[in-house]
Subunit: 625 residues, 2 copies
């Protein structure tokens, strides 16, 4: 099929993010490790160096990179993977017609297969285990860990000597500085994962764990009634441009295998899937016809393509299903409901649960991480924190221990719909039940009454649970509950979750998280409009909004904006106050520093200051002009 | 001037909110009290009664109301106000040219004066105090309190016998049922306010207090560089349509008096202002030229028009100003910076602080509530919870006691920009310093790095601080920091804050808050798409988003959506699971009820259930089809 030409409409967005440039920071320990970062260049007038920020966008934002969707991305990790000497090439599983849905691929939708499919994937040699966790437990610091350490340290180097820690981390152990050894330790004890299938050498290593920066995931994918492959590849590139740390391809319907191939070959971030979706397509949507053999074959199929983590709903046990009967919204997880139907139909535990160790064997042969699915997550405020949910969580904890016995990486999926006062309990129970394996939550949504705004109802819950310790937040778009997200929705979802994750990092006290806030606030205070735009999560929207009322080029250097106009600007008045104070013989800042004012006893301090004012008064402050 | 015809383009949005109708609930105690509510009508198939919800939208959404912007709204409270026998008419202050800005009104912008200005406003008779707090402290339950009680009780009546309390209220005292006497008590002790100037008889009474539903405010208003009067009236009506409980007119520039008149005469919600803005216009923007006399005259001018609450930055004391010099963003409150400049220029305490009791005398003659402004609120994450902020808060606490001495209603404004881990401290300090006077916060924004998305960065903080006890949340629109909000921004800001306030109500455990979530979740589960739209905060957007992928009329009754398509729908599968269980001789729900499974001990319970399954197995669950 490789000779079928791919459609030429396969277009993605490339070029630097406004005001930024791509840089690569080389490891001092390993010259093959060159970590991609983004540098935001500031106006020369401010005298500040460019601000480096974490960057998920891959080569697409690199002016010097040549992008060829037909060829896929360069294989950044190929030498590292092969260099460890524990993998072998083999003949790939033969592709079957039903891999693209029982009716086979639908070429009418303009879907050609990826032209450059590897026929000889990699797997662990017999008896070997190629998971990062296995290496970590052997005391080996991999190039991937080295990469992660440098990546997570953005901004921390210069703070190393004088890290200011201001946050509440609820018992996390966030280091001032991330060393490769720290990464290894976190992966070894299961508190972080580095999801990167050996058949996805295009990926830039990243870590998901409570002691690293909070990550976000964007879901994309076809459904049976909408979308096509070109759109999904475009959405993947678009979502990482704005900050998605991982992407899940949740495609269903036809063309499912081909879609995934296109996405993985062009993705610099880990790709997750829910293999049961594809397995269900292979049995024409009849859940009870699913078998372990079909599921296993699907895992191998996706493992060879390079999927980095699998959502596996092995925690949906037969005994828990009746617990959902009285719920307002029953079972809302697609995977959960499929497995529930299977369990009830066959009246036995699912093949996912029964074959969990068999699945572990596959995972460690490719280094695929588990994302243990919460098939019984609450789908409404009414169902939050109920017996079904927490019973499943306890099982996920047991499965975590089994996976860890195999040195297989694990994260745990979490809810869902949870009112604010019940969020913390989710985190506490997860930490306890799952031995601090990374938590990966969908929101949670803090109310059910705002369809169309569920990116916001869930950003509230996401920021909070991220603060409490969740390692990765799965985005929710404005279309949640209503339809399939389009390109604009994907961007809004990603930016919303990026700000929620950042709010969590700030509150946790990540040492360098505040650097960007401070840089932006300084720019704001000094009316460096362009710097303010460029430092923001979405420079294009910030500039567009500004220009809607003040489009003139001069307004971008003006010391006011359309909200207050020139005379009313408080920033401007403050600057005048400051300048005024500075022209006097005792500057206000040293004046301030000289005052022994306890914030808890403002009244007394105030009296003292007033006295000083009266003493020195006329000399310090005179009417302006 | 009354003969100048108003421009005919003064248009506002009228008509019921999609799927709803306006109703009026009469008080059993006082037939003159007829409380406006909204009823969401559900599909007959569901067998559920219409859901009543709190309604701020006034007569504009009443199909039976005749709207005439030129005439203003009916005077709902006129008889109540006059009936108390403590007010007198008098000749209004003579209007001055500078009331519309030093250069006078700008008629070119299409601004005619409101054609129906009252020349004889009301004030308290000599020696009288017409504040709701004063009545409350005399043991009088006013019609306004009666109105508030019925309004706050939406949904609670039927729960009265069996109120399910599920929340964490951090020491608030939220009653199962709100009686008029409870409202009186809360107002008497200063824990709630009912802002309603006797010269704004068009307003529908509402309460702001920790033990009532969390309220939201929308800011509108001209600036010197943008907008016009017709737009602002339209924005006011538009903002209350979507749920703004109060509206602040923050106009600056020219036409400021006329704009306010148009807004108040047509507003069913309390209107707040920051009188210093207008006073500053009268001295051509030169802060140091402000005087008590000009300010006092402005207060009287606005009191006669009917402003319901005044933001007064009396807490900006001379001694606190140098505390801001080392801040990243100095003073960001417009009012705060104006007063700071004045204090420094004159080197003395502000006339607001010095004349605070004189201001109280005005407030009680019209029943205007204080909104004590936080002129030194932090404008960046870096400046949160600092000495300047908390010193001012302590002063606001002292001023609260002075206002209460005069039986004048008070609320306290709060920040601003605060990272999540520092939000709770704000609430705790405010409750303590200000004797539980209602807190009214702007967000707070939980990160500085997302201009264009600050409705979301702040919704996170707003939901949290609302949960902790803040009584009213001042909205932030997507244009914050970038430009003046347009109509679309106003709606997004209002809906975002409405959902944040509701998330707070849920978490606090307001008895009936969850009714709407549950009704919507049931509609969602049962594929009643139209009910799902109608029950949402923004039915228009919900339906629009749904229709973007499935526009066909039939899709609104389809048992699936575009996200998953028909076969993959987990809701559908769950229903099948339920139906399947129901067809067996022992339904799953009674099966569940019969199981003694402790959620804390899921493992043991599971084992027990599995055993029961094995015993009864084949009979209960058989393969479907």
């Amino acid at each position: 099929m490789a000779d079928i030409p791919a459609r030429t409409e396969m277009k993605v967005t490339t070029g630097p993010i406004r005001g930024s440039r791509k840089i690569h920071v080389a490891s001092p320990n390993d010259p093959s490790v060159r970590v991609a970062m983004r540098e935001i260049v500031l106006e020369p007038s401010c005298g500040e160096p460019p601000l480096r920020v974490y960057d998920c966008s891959g080569p697409y934002t690199d002016d010097n990179a040549r992008i060829d969707i037909m060829a896929g991305l360069p294989e950044l990790r190929a030498d590292w993977i092969r260099g460890r000497g524990d993998v072998e090439e083999y003949d790939a599983r033969e592709q079957k017609p039903e891999d693209n849905g029982l009716k086979g691929p639908d070429r009418s939708a303009g879907v050609a297969p990826f032209p450059n499919v590897r026929k000889r994937p990699l797997r662990a040699k017999a008896g070997a285990n190629v998971s990062q966790m296995h290496y970590a437990r052997q005391g080996i610091i991999t190039a991937e860990m080295e990469y992660v350490a440098i990546r997570e340290n953005v901004g921390r180097a210069k703070l190393r000597e004088a890290a200011i820690r201001d946050g509440e981390d609820f018992g996390a152990e966030i280091p001032d500085y991330v060393t490769p050894e720290f990464v290894r330790e976190e992966v070894a004890r299961g508190r972080a994962i580095i999801p990167n299938n050996i058949n996805h050498p295009e990926s830039e290593p990243m870590a998901i764990g409570r002691n690293f920066l909070v990550k976000i995931n964007a879901n994309i994918g076809n459904s049976a009634v909408a979308s096509d492959v070109a759109n999904e590849v475009d959405k993947m590139v678009w979502s990482i441009r704005w900050g998605a740390d991982t992407v899940m391809d949740l495609s269903t319907g036809r063309n499912i295998h081909d879609t995934r191939e296109w996405i993985i070959r062009n993705s610099p971030v880990p790709i997750g899937t829910v293999p049961i979706y594809q397995a269900l397509e292979k049995v024409d949507g009849i859940a009870e016809n699913l078998t372990w053999e079909i599921f296993r074959d699907t895992l191998i199929e996706q493992a060879e393509q390079g999927v980095d983590y699998f959502t596996i709903h092995a925690g949906v046990r037969l005994a828990y299903i009746p617990m959902t009967a009285k719920r307002v919204t029953g079972i809302v997880s697609r995977g959960g409901s499929i497995m529930a139907k299977w369990c009830l139909s066959h009246h036995k535990e699912s093949f996912l649960y029964d074959h969990f160790e068999d699945i572990c064997e596959i995972m460690k042969a490719y280094d695929i991480a588990f994302s243990l699915g919460d098939g019984l997550r609450p789908g409404s405020i009414a169902d939050a924190n109920d017996e079904a949910q927490f019973s499943e969580l306890a099982t996920l904890g047991e499965l975590t221990q089994i996976a860890w016995k195999h040195d297989v990486q694990v994260m745990i999926e979490g809810p869902g719909h949870v009112p604010m006062h019940k969020i913390k309990q989710n985190m506490e129970k997860q930490l306890k039940a799952c031995g601090e394996a990374p938590f990966y939550t969908l929101g949670p949504l803090t109310t059910d009454i705002a369809p169309g705004y569920d990116h916001i109802t869930s950003a509230i819950g996401a920021a909070m649970i991220g603060w409490f310790g969740t390692a990765m937040l799965c985005y929710v778009t404005p279309k949640e509950h209503l339809g399939l997200p389009d390109r604009d929705d994907v961007k809004v979802g990603v930016v919303t979750y990026k700000l929620a994750a950042h709010a969590a990092d700030l509150a946790k006290g990540h040492p360098a998280a505040k650097l960007r806030d401070d840089a932006l606030s300084r720019a704001r205070f000094e009316f460096r409009w362009r710097d303010q735009f460029h430092l923001s999560l979405d420079p294009d929207t910030a500039e567009k909004y500004h220009d809607q009322t003040l489009p003139a080029e001069g307004a971008k250097t003006a010391h006011f904006c359309s909200m207050c106009g020139p005379k009313f600007c408080s920033m401007k008045i403050t600057q005048e106050v400051r300048d005024f104070a500075a022209t006097q013989n005792q500057p206000s800042s040293s004046f301030l520093a000289a005052q022994p004012v306890a914030s808890e006893d403002a009244e007394a301090g105030m009296a003292k200051m007033s006295e000083t004012f009266r003493e020195k008064g006329g000399e310090i402050y005179l009417p302006a002009e």
